[in-house]
């Protein structure tokens, strides 16, 4: 990973995707549960507002990282998402990448004025 490769906006988007994938690791959830769990687990640091959740869920579904299925409960149709095997592998790889980015950032923040090795 070189400095030129790093895209800050893309990184923010990736974080949202990873948060969703990560919360689905615990089991199948509805969209609203995903949003609630991300907010709760991050102590309110990460929130999905104004329906930003749905484009991400649908994109992940289109990429095969999660799977959406419909069921019926009390006459109401509801959609449940589960993490796929591909999603799990993607999450694991991306978690390593984020860790590397954060540790590089901390290295820079911890030694102001010095270039990291």
């Amino acid at each position: 990973m070189s400095g030129e490769d790093f895209d800050v906006q893309g990184f923010a988007r990736d974080i949202n995707e990873l948060l969703i994938l990560s919360t689905l690791r615990a089991g199948a959830k509805h969209g609203y549960q995903v949003a609630l769990d991300v907010e709760t687990e991050s102590n309110g640091l990460f929130k999905f507002r104004h329906g930003t959740l749905y484009p991400i869920l649908h994109r992940l579904e289109g990429e095969g990282l999660i799977e959406g299925s419909w069921s019926k409960e009390g006459g109401r149709r509801r959609k449940v998402y589960t993490l796929t095997g591909t999603g799990e592998r993607h999450l694991s790889g991306e978690t390593d990448r984020v860790q590397e980015i954060v540790s590089r950032l901390m290295l820079v923040l911890g030694r102001p004025g010095e270039a990291p090795a």
Binding site: Y32, A35, L36, H50, G51, Y54, R76, K79
Partner: protein
């Protein structure tokens, strides 16, 4: 027992639906998913002690897509047809669609007549009925194309 107000989010869903330019089946799925999530999330907030109004407000704030999210959903669910015709001007694409519709309707009609072994030259009395049927059939095809493909 707490009565669930039926269609509490109806106006919100109608607004979202009218701002969403995607094929009908996709729109139905998006609205159905949103409807369930809105009701379930507001129920959850009520169970946590919020008033019904506040629960609905917070659920809407979290889940109802704003213009940016609607655009993102439209891009994600853009039908193949729109992608293929993106470089064609709307006028040209409309002319092409009309020709395709006319040809499809004619082929299906001719096929139907052939199957039924009807010789139109022998029965000119059928022409007006057939013309009316063809127009109705074309209108149905055009509407189905508009709703389900475009």
């Amino acid at each position: 027992m707490r009565a669930r107000p039926r269609g509490a989010f109806e106006h919100v869903l109608r607004e979202v639906g009218s701002g969403l330019t995607v094929p009908l089946p996709v729109r139905v799925h998006i609205l159905r998913e949103l409807a369930y999530d809105l009701e379930a999330l507001s129920d959850r907030f009520v169970a946590e002690g919020l008033s019904m109004d506040e629960a609905r407000r917070r659920a809407s704030e979290a889940l109802v897509p704003d213009a940016k999210s609607l655009n993102a959903l439209e891009r994600l669910h853009e039908p193949l047809y729109k992608r293929f015709t993106a470089h064609i001007t709307p006028d040209r694409s409309r002319v092409g669609e009309r020709w395709a519709l006319a040809v499809t309707a004619s082929v299906l009609l001719a096929g139907g007549l052939a199957l039924l072994r009807i010789n139109l030259l022998d029965q000119p009395v059928l022409w007006p009925a057939l013309a009316l049927g063809a127009v109705l059939f074309a209108a149905v095809l055009a509407k189905a194309f508009e709703l389900r493909v475009k």
